[in-house]
Symmetry: C2
Subunit: 218 residues, 2 copies
Amino acid sequence: MSKLRLAITMSLDGYVAGPNQSVEHPLGEGGEQLHEWAFATRTFRAVHGMEGGATGPDDDIAKEYFHNVGATIMGRHMFGGGDGPWGDKPWNGWWGDDPPFHMPVFVLTHHARDPLEMKGGTIFHFVTEGIDVALERAKDAARGKDVTLGGGANVAQQCLKAEVIDEMNIHIVPVLLGDGARLFNHTDGQQKAFECVRIVSSPTVSHYKYRKRSSGHD
Amino acid sequence: MSKLRLAITMSLDGYVAGPNQSVEHPLGEGGEQLHEWAFATRTFRAVHGMEGGATGPDDDIAKEYFHNVGATIMGRHMFGGGDGPWGDKPWNGWWGDDPPFHMPVFVLTHHARDPLEMKGGTIFHFVTEGIDVALERAKDAARGKDVTLGGGANVAQQCLKAEVIDEMNIHIVPVLLGDGARLFNHTDGQQKAFECVRIVSSPTVSHYKYRKRSSGHD
């Protein structure tokens, strides 16, 4: 059955992006430190059309992320381009002509827009009807494979609160950002329903995998 | 030189105690899960007058905690007994006649009280003049050894904000509490001044050690 899997990197003080997100700082000030581990892996580099990169535990986790995924959901902030209507020269994402998704991507937004087809199989669909509709459409598009949820914080919180997440992969880096977008806020504490089923650590990041407890054991 | 060392266990979602702290639940609901790792170690058990316990990486961390410590600071919540004046039958702590400190302990409180001498070398001093005075008295009492700060969240936050902490040992357990007392709140983001200098992981807990960056490199 198709699962919804949250995969997100968090600073040890709880932030998934730094403060003052902008076009210059898409991940907020200091936020790029969160993703250094991923960009060092062979798998992430390959998906982004780059050569080289490390193998090892972090790369194994990156491989697992891309395994059996048929669609992705993200928030408007993660897609980028600022708030408000799309305008005449709409923003087409941070990732250039050939984004690293290679699958349908459902972007939650308050502003309607036609689907945007990119190179390499990535199609951005803009969903204005909320997370339930986005998830339904993503699961349809995934054709039995899983759906991943990358962030940002706001969409992850909405999904946690709506109890639609089946699995969480939280990558903890030891940086302390001091400010920014917190993951575990406005969730009604729904993360309590999850139990840790695996921890994999490398010198730069620890990967915590959580599954929702079956209701019989909750 | 005497350092102030924060040592505290935090759930992966950022809480150092569960919700609804009370005499029945001194660590809040679910909060006891935070300390299972410590109570499994030989060192913690010995300090509490119990036999047995595990050796290994968690026990090495516990040993390190007790090494070269001359005094401890804690908040009124951690000492316990509820808020407000001490009353006629004052609370003498959670730990019985022979508390596991065996050194001077400075309890931050709004309510004055005479020092309380227990068995085994523990003396509780009650400080009403705020964290700076508590720290000064603790450093005097420590006679060149370090001072540890155990919590709760409120005192740790005050010390972070006042920039008086030299070292932080944050023990992350993979439990998700969903609610409770957050460590990294009301700190003015001062944790940004720290860098991770060591990570030690066991299957149940990851120990992150942070040192304040020297101001020349900040």
